[in-house]
């Protein structure tokens, strides 16, 4: 097995956003490291306070994790659990809709904001830690967008040739 191109420290700094530009540029310009996912998943696991094994990082604060009962759920890094990973987690979040000029003006000068007659801004928050997890700029009435439905089994089995993480037995 080839040596790791980037170790845990570097990948952790990548996640932190503290790598210097020259390091990022080198990373972008060179061939991708096939072992990145394995290191990255381990780094992400080290960064959260809970033990549920991460199957896939889903967003800045969100993960698909494996529960003891075998369920795969969407979980926030604060520990809040949303829903089964095949459902749209946004339906289990809190929402705030900017649908007036006043609400838009809290984020943009009036003329630099969308016109609420044409478009609204929807903010989705974690119901526990209030992290802003996603922002949609859509017309009124637009169905909540289900951004991503990963095929985790194909990914692990056929693409990565990796075993799925397992729940650690207690005691």
């Amino acid at each position: 097995m080839s040596e790791q191109k980037y170790d845990h420290k570097v990948i952790n700094e990548l996640v932190e956003g503290t790598l210097e530009w020259y390091q990022i540029k080198n990373m972008m310009s060179s061939h991708k490291d096939p072992e990145r996912f394995k290191v990255y998943r381990e780094v992400m696991q080290e960064r959260v306070s809970w033990d549920d094994p991460i199957l896939l990082p889903l967003g800045l604060h969100l993960y698909i994790v494996l529960k003891e009962n075998g369920e795969r759920i969407v979980k926030c890094d604060c520990g809040h659990e949303f829903c089964d990973y095949k459902e749209n987690w946004k339906l289990y979040a809190n929402i705030f809709v900017r649908d007036t000029e006043e609400k838009m003006n809290e984020v943009y000068p009036v003329l630099m904001a969308p016109d609420p007659e044409w478009q609204v801004i929807r903010e989705y928050y974690c119901p526990s830690c209030a992290a802003q997890l996603e922002v949609e700029a859509v017309t009124p009435w637009y169905p909540v967008i289900h951004d991503f439905e990963p095929d985790i089994d194909t990914f692990y089995k056929d693409w990565m040739n990796l075993p799925l993480p397992e729940v650690k037995s207690k005691g």
Binding site: G59, D115, Q119, V135
Partner: protein, 759 residues
Amino acid sequence: MKTVDEVQKKTKAPIGWDGKTLKEMRAEIDRVSKETGYYAGIKDLTFKEEDPIRFEKIFSKLRGGVVHARETAKRVAASPIVEQEGELCFSLYTPEADSIVTSTGIIIHVGTMGAAIKFMIENDYEDNPGINDGDIFCNNDNHVGNVHTCDVHTLVPIFWEGEVVGWVGGVTHVIDTGAAGPGSMPMGPVQRYDDGYQVTCRKIGENDELSKDWLLESTRSVRGAKYWTLDEKTRVAGCHMIRDLVLDVIREEGVDNYKRFIREIIEDGRRGFVNQVKMMTIPGKYRGVSFIDVPFEGLDLPKFAQQNSIIHTPSEITIHKDAHLEIDFEGSSRWGWHPFNATPVSITSGIWVMLSQTLVPNDRINDGAYYASTFGIPLGSWFNPDDIRSAHSNTWHGLVAGWTPLWRGLSRGYWGRGFLEEINAGNAHTSNWLQGGGYDHHGELSALNSFESAACGVGASAVKDGISHSAALWNPEGDMGDMEIWEILEPLLFMGREILPGSGGAGKFRGGNGWQSLRLGWGAKEWTMLVAGAGAMATDCGLMGGYPGAAGYRFSAYNTDLKERIEKRLPLPLGGDTDPDYPTYEKNMNAEVVNRDRQAVTTQEEFDDYDLILNYLRGGPGFGDPLDRDPKLVEEDLNDRYILHRYAEKVYGCVFTEKDGEYKVDLEATKEKRKQIRKERLERSMPTKEWMKKEKQKILNKDASKQVQLMYAESFALSEKFTDEFKEFWNIGDDWMIYEEDLNVTKLGRHINRFKNNA
């Protein structure tokens, strides 16, 4: 007497390989590639494997040659769009019009020039008008597959011992092509016949010489004939440089090796693309949507075009188990009476521009990627009109918006894999397009399209802010150009160029900021101006908690007192309109007319000396929750004027002090402020499912503006799938529907309609 068939019968030997016509070769490539799943049926890359050095040497020669031809030929042009901004591209094709290698530049034309060559093959040009060594062809017909009329193609066949061994195509973005409005992407055209001078794959020269009738007709059909002429010389020069290069390679390597090479390099491109998809993404479905406003009510246009509408482009990327990439745009809006329509080739080919900056960041850009992908392009949609009357002059209005969810979608895959350095929250709506025309300050009939939009804000990444005022997705080498050059060529003086604070979307990493140029009319005799950009809507969503880039607006002032103020040395409007909530321009001038509103697309308005117009180049979307942003970065933003002060606290939760113009963030107070904002978020938000009940009631009551209702009505009329998914999501019964005909909009052009059983 001969029959018609006999007259039309070929009198010449076929010019394809092994006694075949080009049409036969095209059909064979399509059939074999489809049957085998490999380009041209190439299962083994024998040349590449047996003689890899030689294979790479040929590739490097060809790739280096097309890039060199672009760099050299662009110096021929006088147009700042080509010479300053690099809006040109050259590509080398197989005899059947599959792309082998492409230069840098506007590489969307890999597909469009290929479409033009395929059009000639399909229409038996081999028989009439004939395809001979030394011929020169021209195309800019939108409905053949061009992006828009101003992208003019020069196409030259390459012969070796009587056989076509390939084609070379060159394209430049010409400053004016004689449309209903001045400039290369004018507002005003609402039908093909307004889009300007369109040339349909016409033979314009023989024996390497352009025909006199062509030179006379074409230069009399456009504004700015000198730009047109020198652009054409640029394209011809580049094409001939590349033709010479190919013939040199064949002399050196042998024609059989060249033929093997061009097949294998495309198959290699296809495999490389599949490998990259597997290396960097995650199988599954990625969904997104974009919108762009078409605020045409009250504009100086035919009555049937004077309506507000929205171009809606939902997209679903499916990455299959075998890494095949599929992108489906089902549910998109109908084409319309505006210049923002597009062709299938332009939307798909433009996707390669994007992918070459993220997924396949290498020089193997060829049609291999095309053979590794599938696209769902609904007939009747704005990028596949079912009517040749559609106008396309400002097609980028919709295209730029339509692509941005694809960046975000793929970025979700990169996030899952850990390739955070490749994440991009989307792209700016690369506008405004500041355009005009008339008799310029040199007394010449001319036109302008300021390409400052080639330097908009880039979307944020997951590891750093988006780059400000720097790039556009359609030309990765984007450049705003030098003010001094623009002032030589355009009858507009600069009253300033300045970053627009807050134009990039807020986030943990903020979108790259846009900027503004304030221009003063000076020296033209009879001149009109127009603006064209996104206004009422943000065209992106931001990513993982980041906000969209700011929306657009316009500022212009007519019949000002600036002449007098300059004479009296009084303060003038200068720099950017840095906080439009508290405008300053108007404090330093009087004007009979001031336009300061969201009408970011306009038709021609007379523009005199001392009139003012603002060119606002948009910012990119942000990444991540702004409350996660390092307060030190907010402090830098304040000191560098990348954000407005009041939003440092409101959006980023950063409490700061100011002393002698220097800002300092109070870390402890910021911590508390952020806690408070999070608390407020929970207080004023509600569970999504509860909100959905309220929103559903609005839908049942049809409580939305007419343009929003029309947008849904168009998508419902074109797509059963979109309708079903909409109704299923909101749990709405069969008795609820919105029909276009109930909205008092024009009936013209609304052909495909599944409610009328004629789809």
